[in-house]
Amino acid sequence: MKPSTVKINKMPSRFKHQVPKYKVTRSDACINCGTCAKTCPYGVHERSEGHNKVKPPIDYKCIGFECQSKDFCCITKCPRKALSLSLNPMYNTLGDPRWTADMITGTWIMAETGYPPERTDLDYNVGNSGGGFDKLRFKFPAKPAKVDKAEISTAIPLNRRKDGRADVVISTPVYGGGMSFGSVSLSTMVSKAHNATIWNTFTCTGEGGFPDILKPYCDHVITQVATGLFGVREETIQRVKIVELKYAQGAKPGLGGHLLGEKNTEAVAKMREAVKGTSLFSPFPFHSVYSIEDHKKHIDWIKAVNPTALLSVKVSTPNDVDMVAVGSYYAGAHIIHIDGGYGGTGAAPDIAKKNIAMPIEYAITKVHNFLKAEGVRDAITLIASGGIRTAHDLAKAICLGANGAVIGTAELVALECVRCGNCESGRGCSRGIATTDSVLADLFDEKWATQRLTNMYNAWNVQLVDILQKFGMHDVSELVGRTDLLEHIDYSH
């Protein structure tokens, strides 16, 4: 059930055009009669008052071949058969096998409307990577038990240790990943936190400190203690409900971080308690942690500083991730957050993103089963990230054994990221999302961004509830570890 603070409002794209999937071509046979402009309900064709000529078709508004079965289709209505429809070659330049153009377009529609797309021509739930989530499908029962959608709960508790620390419950089993101060624009950062508050879930500061501008949302912000210990202060640890110890990041496991000197502006340096303009390295690993025992010492330290906060341990996905997870449980963590090898980043070596550490799909089952065998699965929350792109990925991750997921890229796509991958080059993101450039960072405001995120979270929640209903479930916790509800298109047939 969604919190009462969630209000869905339409929030259109900032840009005049979307990226079109189709191309509507008008041939010379056109006599400018204007029939197309009258018949098309989507506004592909426009003929302004007083103009003789119909304007060139606005491709992105076209719903494609499925329109040909409708009685208002311009192609069949045109008296001169002057219109034709084809796939737009431009669409091939958007997206990639992991985030297909359909998936990006689908996410944009969700962020705009708050609901899954009504169009049926977008394959937005699965990517084209040829493995992992993209090979898994749900086995929905033919006759589901009748469940009232209003009775379905998507809330999950984050403290399952019952150790007297805060009982934190989030309303939807997903929260925002860490993006540090300086790596994304202020509007991006604040909107993520604002949306987390609206959805009663969380977002994370990333490494580099807890800027004051996020203070109004501090009940929904996770502060990160990463290997550089930048911006870590007692007061920021004390102001939050969850503290995340970041050991590694899925996109660059085992490599640490590197903030370039030019990105280390006065404000960033102040927050990080460093000298402006110097390159800042976050080493790998924590230089005070070389064993699970050292790790416990770390957790005890945070626990002593903040007696009620929950502890989340973010690790990447090596072969021994299951051992790390169990070790973290015994060290006192509440949340084990595993970040898969194909996770997002502002900048990472291509060689690391492609090759180091395993995809999240394998790690989830590995960790879930190991924790179960150890008899501690019910006392720890397992959160997956690094490749959770859609509501279906989220539900599949839960079926594989996670309690919930953390997302990063999907949030940025909601803010109209096209995944061009130039976050760190030159002035940063040309679309104003991952940049601190004074001009580019002003491309959108926090209000627009917050609503887009709230809308996308809603669309995901709608889809998740729909999946639970089809399985006849009342609570998302019933879905955890239900691999029997999935099938693999290579193995199962």
Partner: protein, 466 residues
Amino acid sequence: MPKKYHITPKPAPLDMDYVFKFTIVRGENCINCGKCIKVCIYEAHKRRTDDPRKMADPNTVVCRNCFRCIQECPRGALEKSINKDYSNIGGAFWKPDILMSLWKQAEDGNVPVSGAGYRGPFTGIGFDSMWTDMSEIVRPTRDGIHGREYINTGVDLGSKLNHLTFDSNGQLISVVPETIDLPFPILFDITAYKLSLHVKEAILKAASVIQTCLIIPVTEITPELEKHSDNIIPSLASTDIDKHEAILKKARLVAIDYSDAMLKDFQALKEKIKKHNHALTIVRVPAVKNVEEIVAKLTQNGAEIIQIVADYRGQEINESSGKDGRLLKDIIRAIHSRLVEDKIRDSVTLVASGGIGMAEHVPKAMLCGSDLTAIDIPLLVALGVRVFEEPQKLLVFPEGLDKIPSRKLTQRIVNLMGAWHSQILEMMGAMGIREARRLRGESGRAIFFEEIDRESFGKLFKKEKR
């Protein structure tokens, strides 16, 4: 601690026709308003210099696919598509993106870095079907690449003893075989390509700068090249040994093409070479179907270094089977396991070659069981060569390559190797391995797709056979 091995990059752009990924076409309905100039931060859009009232054709070399111009053009007059040159170059193995990345690395020597997560397929074939492990809480290295600690990429070539033997007085009885150290696990190999002297010289100088060696047919070693004889590995047929006495005298390593006759009397061949000097012998064995058999026999007969030569896409050399041939990853794994089973793995050094096209292939080949690698095509790509796989293998050299100063060509290869060195350090640092020698056959630090997929998804989803 030895002096840190470091490759110094220096920008070395070529004045060549760049392949670019996108084409943007300005439609006739452009009203020359200049909105695209304002929104493009990469300066792809400019006005015409001869007539500033009009827009020039978009400069797509700089386009980074941000879609701002496409989405903000008031008339929707811009159309973008994938460039034909881009889709035509390379092929299934030498993907266009690999070639573009190699060109870039040769130009600036930097590690390719980008934002957003990995965008390729979940898994692939050959080396693309394995991931490397990393360590965090349980067994981390210190510092990874930014380290105060030294990650050593050095390897030795030659035979090694399993153990040492001493007499009752504690005197060493074992004769410790000679080995040759290389600071970087990559040899250069241009035996398969006809190159101009200018290009050969540039490649050889690069080998000398990064302190590795170049395998080159003995007949191509001219007096100009002989200046760098320390870095030359002459390659020849076993029957030609006596013909090239002068060159062999200077060589530290000699590469001999494999022939079945060697299986009978390899020792005699070695003696023949040793007659000329103390050089170690590399036997170049084509990666045919029973290559592990050949390698095992050669090793038993005293071969000290064996180079496995797969085809240019890392496939088994097998005229009959075509598609079913194994890939370098599996060939190396099979050879390594065979030698381990026969308890002779340490007596031979394995060089993996053919289809080593990216930095990641080097540590991956080593995890699969080779001691080092040899590369060919990447050296040429660094010089601006375009590779085509279809309809058949074709290398297109840039025009005027021989007029480009040799120093610049050398620097481009040095840059590429510098970028590879840094990337190999990244992977080793993440794995927690500080010695390249320890990568060999360390399959526990690799994650193989077939194994992990069978272990997890196979177990979960495979239907029981009834």
